[in-house]
Symmetry: C2
Subunit: 343 residues, 2 copies
DNA sequence: TTGAAAGCGCTAACAT
DNA sequence: ATGTTAGCGCTTTCAA
């Protein structure tokens, strides 16, 4: 029966004492990668640890070892389908690699990002994963990059989700190819006149998806003039507002709308409904990402699926598996009822 | 210009040396709650820290202090509207209190939960917040509770979101009252014959929402027989399946369906559609939670709003603000088009 | 194989 | 007010 101890945390020393061995031995048994195993002393240690309900003090280990097994995930937001699913994906992949994940929400604020990165350096996080969607000024990028380089110099690893101009490893989503194939698919269904609801202008993702779409149209002999693009930002509200502000003339001359992500597409549906237009009866609509909530949307939304689970795995591979950057993750077109064949 | 140093982490000692003061002084300036402020030495230290881009090693601090400022949030799942919004709420409230949040996903697996709690004890997490929705056997509850009590004995604090039979502080969501008021509101709209789509049987939340609903009906002279409840679990798929398996007779005799959460309500809509029934034309429907994605649903879903932001604040208050347990968070009925007035 | 001892970066008495 | 000196719990040389 538990006789003496105060309920204070059980330390390695306690275990060692109880097992009648030295602390180093206990340490070796309990953690030190099985090296120089203690024949049957090991059993004693294990038993003692179990009886005492020992649980290693991770912070102390980190201090002694000089490294942690923590991965920090920086997202701009978490109450969003896309990011929460990305988060889940990274977490589950990380766990398999024995990495713990800390999530930090940047709220798209640069100062906050920089501060976070600096903190993370202090925390000896093993890696920082940037999966954001905010726009940054040139000067902002520089400052952030500077801080991140400081972090890498201190031994950390930075991985960016989505192509980046910063000198870090990244997982490349096939935004260009996905959008390109979507354009081709839509034209094959008979669509000829498009309007694009753009996300944050200046963001790589925005650019790639637009360029890809344009390229696909070009392949089919069609053009996408700049006037056929309305920028807002990658949010439901953004698209809702953009659609609300669209010219009647423009709208009635458009056969299909391409929202640069699903969240926007859903906002667009609401915005259109507000103007008395229905999808696809009055206008067709396609999105990008294939977020989970699409299963609740009727009629089904045509989109380009980004396999977040794969992205998560790719990220972790880059960190722990020694994979080469960039890794490219495919994007596949999914045609649903929001873009019926035009006759 | 940065002349000498290797790019190894800058330590407090480095800063102290550079500022020409002792390490303790540096420590006091940089962290030690402003006590015994160093007149203008402080400036030197601050400057040195800045030049060297010093960032405190949090793990070392934790070891030395014996406590951390980490809060661990245990959720069963994160790729779900309800949990991601709860997560966001807790994180934002925690940040205000200077707490860092680590998210752990339990996948509703008991063994995993227990292991996590043990780890968290080793990590000296300051608090563990349980915001889950899994069912547990009596023996499971005992083992988990045991581990959690060990954690509290070691100095941690446990807070449960939702009423619990375990001896820990909790934030009480007004499930009973919300459901009760919903029942009253629906009967006032003319509904008399209901069917309930229950979540995980045996879960407190399930029980409370059903009891509340029943109570509300009773108040209006109506009954809810057990035969009018179909249990599945708190998921889209669960409700989808349950609706699919419902008797035609039952369905045609039901005027309104009450799904115990919105996720289920959305699954029910899909299930009903599958059977050729539409909401609210063929049957009315109400949910619970008021998750974000409801804005994408047409017709709007009647539901009971759970203010997650408030829950988040309440949780943190319990941890850092010395609030009394339990704190009760209200739930308010929101009537939308899925339950039109019956005439 | 096992143990003794030094040290990881930091804080907190305890002097001064 | 500032510096000295022990630790915090753990890992890891280095001897034995």
């Amino acid at each position: 029966m538990p006789a003496e101890r105060r309920s204070h945390p059980v330390t390695l020393a306690d275990v060692a004492r109880r097992a009648g061995v030295s602390q180093s031995t206990a340490s070796r048994v309990l953690n030190g990668s099985e090296r120089t195993v203690g024949g049957e002393l090991a059993q004693r240690v294990l038993a003692a640890a179990d009886e005492l309900r020992y649980s290693a003090n991770v912070q102390a280990q980190a201090v002694a070892r000089g490294t942690t097994t923590n991965l920090a995930l920086l997202v701009s937001d978490i109450a969003t389908d896309y990011f929460s699913s990305m988060t889940a994906a990274v977490m589950s992949a990380a766990e398999l690699a024995g990495l713990r994940v800390t999530i930090a929400i940047t709220e798209r604020r640069l100062e906050r990002e920089i501060e976070l990165v600096r903190d993370l350096r202090g925390q000896h996080a093993r890696a920082i994963v940037l999966a954001e969607s905010g726009t940054r000024s040139r000067e902002g990028v520089e400052r952030l990059q500077d801080e991140l380089e400081g972090y890498e110099a201190a031994g950390g690893k930075v991985v960016v989700v989505s192509r980046t101009t910063m000198p870090f490893d990244f997982v490349d989503l096939d935004n260009f190819g996905g959008a390109r194939r979507l354009a081709v698919a839509l034209t094959r269904l008979g669509y000829k006149r498009f309007h694009v609801l753009g996300g944050d202008e200046g963001l790589v993702t925005t650019r790639e998806r637009i360029e890809g779409f344009r390229d696909g149209l070009a392949e089919r002999g069609l053009e996408l003039p700049d006037s056929a693009i309305t920028f807002s930002d990658f949010s439901w509200e953004g698209a809702f507002g953009a659609v609300g502000a669209l010219d009647d003339a423009v709208l009635s001359n458009t056969q299909a709308l391409f929202a640069l992500n699903d969240e926007m597409a859903l906002g667009a549906i609401a915005g259109l409904r507000n103007r008395g237009m229905r999808v696809p009866d009055d206008i067709a609509l396609a999105g990008f990402d294939d977020i989970r909530t699409l299963r609740n949307v009727v009629p089904g939304l045509t989109t380009v699926r980004v396999p977040t689970a794969q992205v998560g795995r790719a990220v972790v591979e880059l960190i722990a598996g020694g994979a080469q950057s960039p890794t490219t993750v495919p994007a596949t077109v999914v045609i649903r009822e929001s873009t019926p064949r035009l006759n």
